[in-house]
Symmetry: C2
Subunit: 200 residues, 2 copies
DNA sequence: ACCTGAACACCGTTCAAGT
DNA sequence: ACCTGAACACCGTTCAAGT
């Protein structure tokens, strides 16, 4: 190994960081424990000293993808739904920054192994916007389902195109789709303020 | 030998049907080509005589899951968005009827290998509801992203719970989430009628 | 045309053994 | 504590050969 520099201590964070680098270079299907071992300069079995399983590793990768994403400051006069739109665009940018990033984050979020970091702020913004407390969790999931689902769709279609599969469909407009979801959220908030029932 | 008595011919449809049965019994992770061969009483390599690859098979499985789903008749006085709600509930019922059904349908749809069957009717209903033509495709994808994303979430959490992973979150309310998306669609339709810009 | 039998090139995970 | 080396029990896919 010419110029092999042995790192003093390998920690879990090193394994996760190497997994991110590997994901960026080769994509999720080639992010194998063997390839990750090679990336770290150890046997694949050594990885299990730092993470319990590949799924747990991917949960940490999902969290790191979100943590590395942008976090733009809202304008001073921005309302809660304006800030929410900004956060959704930031989350989208975060998952699009890595190949299969939306796949990793969405599946780990659904599996309860990661991807929870945007939830608290999204829910808080929905509450500020006037969404009734009993519907905040559901509304937050609806917003994030759209953001992740749209990004997943976009990355999958790009991957399919690379694999030579005809898709024929034009890419869907994120801004318009998010506008639809946020308009529905606004209706739910106004409905809550008026003391009415669910939107329908 | 037309008309001659011979062993039952295995066709592609038989392979797909057997894959559905196997999916129902063991779930997607255990739906392997070897297990499918055993289900059909042939070697795994024989399956490749009827389908090009496992991905192509899963595309056909996705289409079949949707085709086997319910298709309720709308009431005579139902408007386009009422019918759309009914269709969304039907699609949801279809994918929830099989373990990992939402995963299969969503990923094959995103990959362009199946799951396209609800798109035409959803888009037609959105057009009838007054969504501007240039936004119909995007609105349709937004609706289906929600339906698939919600079902995927629900099935994943159930699977995580079975695997002993703590999820803590209550299941999100489908009716409320769909109400949010449809309220946003209505706002887009009214906006289109008023000649205004995108909702926001 | 349809299928077998065997192989190829991989996986994630485990574990006794080393240091 | 951290890692090696080797194995275990699998994958999807290919292909010459049979019928």
């Amino acid at each position: 190994m010419p110029g092999a520099t042995r790192r003093p201590v390998r920690r879990r964070a090193d394994v996760v960081a190497a997994a991110l680098d590997l994901l960026a270079r080769v994509g999720l299907p080639d992010l194998t424990m063997r390839a990750l071992g090679a990336e770290l300069g150890v046997q694949q079995s050594a990885i299990y000293h730092h993470v319990e399983s590949k799924q747990a590793l991917l949960g940490a990768v999902a969290d790191e993808i979100l943590a590395r994403g942008p976090r733009r400051r809202p304008r001073a006069d921005a309302g809660p739904l304006d800030v929410l739109r900004l956060r959704c665009e930031d989350v989208r940018a975060a998952v699009l920054a890595y190949p299969d990033g939306a796949d990793v984050v969405m599946s780990m979020w659904a599996f309860g192994l990661g991807g929870r970091s945007p939830v608290a702020e999204v829910d808080a913004l929905l509450g500020s916007a006037g969404v009734p407390a009993e519907h905040v969790t559901t509304a937050g999931r609806t917003v994030l389902h759209f953001v992740y689902g749209h990004a997943y769709d976009e990355q999958s279609r790009a991957q399919a195109a690379r694999a030579g599969i005809v898709t024929a469909d034009a890419p869907a407009d994120f801004a318009t789709g998010l506008g639809i979801v946020l308009a529905g959220v606004r209706a739910l908030a106004e409905d809550g303020r008026a003391g009415g029932s669910q939107p329908g």
